[in-house]
Symmetry: C2
Subunit: 397 residues, 2 copies
């Protein structure tokens, strides 16, 4: 009388979490400074000062009974209006406050969106490499994930492969850009080609195919690169956003869903989002963190540190002979495993106290993920270890 | 390609919300001071000062990168330990920090618990009167609600009726005490009789029947009344708690699930809870509000105001000839409709600007709910309106 599915999800730790726990044990054994933990995506850069200032201001100057009260289920309308204004000014997103639903973070944005649109028998396309929890969320909502691989080494989506994977049961596709785990930003050309495929397939099958834009890393793009805003390219879009990474607030759980005003039957799509949030037990996003948002729109934690980390790692590891996809965003570096057996490579890396995540759970078994949301000092200290590992494997010769 | 179920949940507002919205329109028309809105359960008493003090302290003195980071999915272990210590000292609850899972509030406590235990075909018993969202949450988790009425006027559970409703498919029963909407506290005698039934039926069917104790109103009990702590009476108990009402933090979404250490297969039950939280997209409870909890355990907002409201309303309305169940807890007064048609009675009350909620959605169509988490001044101002309504209906003659 316990759900076997939930038991399995609760007992089987993710590979990422396993490696992280190993790292903690190892740090206790040999000292934290001697372990190079690149396993987790937990931002290391603190929230920008505006976050602390605004929280202090809210707590000091807003009466507690008002500050901590329920908001409407979709979130405070003033906050939603500020978000819509920001999105329209920044991306010409055509955002309507009445189509924004505040959530307790990116995972909730996804589970609510998927629950709103998935009907029995529906399929959802995920592009590999992908965040492993997509599979969990799609199945929880009653759907079936269909994996389409993006070709290495640039990992841009392959429109023909997506077209081939779409069936009459396809209800949605998830696009995550900048991507976890590859760091790739989906280019405007790729977006256009992909949307053309989706438009054609919608017409062929006579029903919407939703594009779910999972964008917690939107602001973490480097070298001035533009991350296309997908509502401008495709009407049936739901943008799933979180402030976890941009504001370094991962524990506070605040994000939103934007239903495109141009989506087919947009009012009902939004109502279904509201119904899904209600049904899953979300009630409303944390009120204090809702009220924080208007002052922080467009602000980010110090992204320059992540860029510096990327450059240090990418440049040095490339010189050592590793094969890397140059990440354009997020804080992950994707490396081709120098050994045929990726798990064995990650085990060998452990000998040098390098903790990196094998790619199988991301749908890319030949690759490993290196999370560089760590201190620049740790990266500098880790370079000799990467060098020794490269030498053992005779890389760059 | 929109989920019809979710669309229905998103478009059909709850009756409570409809009345609340009517009240807002009416206040705009005739002035807020002339509308007596008893529709919502939104606490009117502010959070106790310790909440604001502790939030200020945390924000000022904890580095942002630590304060706002992800916690483990189950919640910070130090916070869970503080909760377990408090429960053990206060209720001899036999609570284990490793069996506590922090949630984003009461609704999440319920959806996570139900998702953890419901398998296909399972039934969950709810005792009328009940919080209407129970139906939504049980169906979302794949179960079927089975309603068992508690006999008026004291609304204690009827063990024989519960026994008759249990089938081989019964996986759980929800007990909500102090109760929304009736204000009734389930007595120790009722608890013992009910648990005896559950024990016998577990034995008969050879599988656990879980007792879900939904306790957001635990601290809101009056006249020194004891609210039995259910893990002491029944092993297969999950306590679903929220700080929304006790600390007047409904918008902040912080609560927990306690899996009884004595539950059958308790480790796996807890793992299934963790799996359900993961699957529904909760990730972790808001970190800042997790860290707030240890300082606030055992603290409450000023409950004396609610007691004063209860006494004013109960004493005056009884004198006027209304038939009331005297509430022992929460902040709801349950009134027998003086008219055969309860909806018509609530409409008639509106003529006097009295906004009260008909009982059909609570599973008790002959009753109405009066929420008294309002200002004492509004209650005083409303008494002549209740008086006039009583006169029109020839009550007390």
């Amino acid at each position: 009388m316990i759900s076997e599915k939930m038991l399995a999800l609760g007992t089987k730790r993710s590979v990422i979490r396993e490696i992280f726990e190993y790292g903690n044990r190892r740090k206790a054994e040999i000292g934290a400074e001697n372990v190079f933990d690149f396993s987790l995506g937990n931002p290391s850069v603190p929230a920008p000062p505006i976050v602390t200032e605004t929280l202090n201001d809210l707590i000091t100057n807003t009466p507690a009974a008002k500050l901590h009260a329920y908001t409407t289920a979709a979130g405070d309308l003033g906050v939603r209006t500020a978000i819509a204004d920001y999105l329209n000014a920044t991306y010409r997103a055509d955002a309507d406050p009445q189509k924004i639903y505040l959530t307790v973070g990116a995972a909730a944005s996804l589970t609510v969106s998927l629950t709103a649109i998935i009907c029995e028998g529906d399929e959802v396309i995920v592009l590999a490499p992908f965040f492993p929890e997509y599979n969990v969320f799609i199945r929880q909502a009653g759907g079936t994930p269909v994996v389409v691989s993006c070709p290495a080494p640039d990992f841009q989506p392959d429109p023909a492969a997506v077209a081939a994977a779409i069936t009459p049961n396809t209800t949605a596709i998830i696009i995550n850009s900048p991507n976890n785990p590859s760091g790739v930003v989906v280019s405007e050309d790729s977006v256009k080609a992909l949307c053309a495929v989706l438009e054609a397939k919608q017409k062929e099958y006579g029903h919407p195919i939703y594009l779910i834009a999972d964008e917690p890393y939107r602001e973490l793009a480097y070298d001035g690169l533009d991350v296309p805003y997908l509502t401008k390219y495709y009407n049936n879009t739901l943008v799933c956003y979180s402030f976890s990474k941009s504001l370094s607030l991962p524990g506070e759980r605040i994000g939103y869903i934007l239903v495109s005003s141009k989506a087919e039957d947009a009012d009902n799509l939004y109502f279904a989002v509201c119904g899904a949030g209600r049904s899953l037990g979300f009630v409303c996003a944390p009120a204090l963190f809702q009220y924080l948002i208007p002052a922080c729109l467009g602000q980010t934690a110090d992204v320059a540190i992540y860029k510096q980390n990327r450059d240090t790692l990418y440049n040095n590891l490339t010189k050592m002979g590793y094969t890397l996809s140059k990440p354009q965003g997020a804080f992950y570096l994707f490396m081709k495993s120098p050994m045929a057996d990726t798990d064995a490579f990650c085990e060998k890396a452990k000998k040098y106290e390098l903790l990196i995540v094998p790619g199988a759970d991301f749908g890319t078994p030949d690759y490993v993920r290196i999370s560089y949301c760590v201190s620049p000092e740790m990266i500098e200290r880790s370079l000799p270890a990467f060098e020794s590992l490269a030498k053992e494997l005779n890389l760059g010769e």
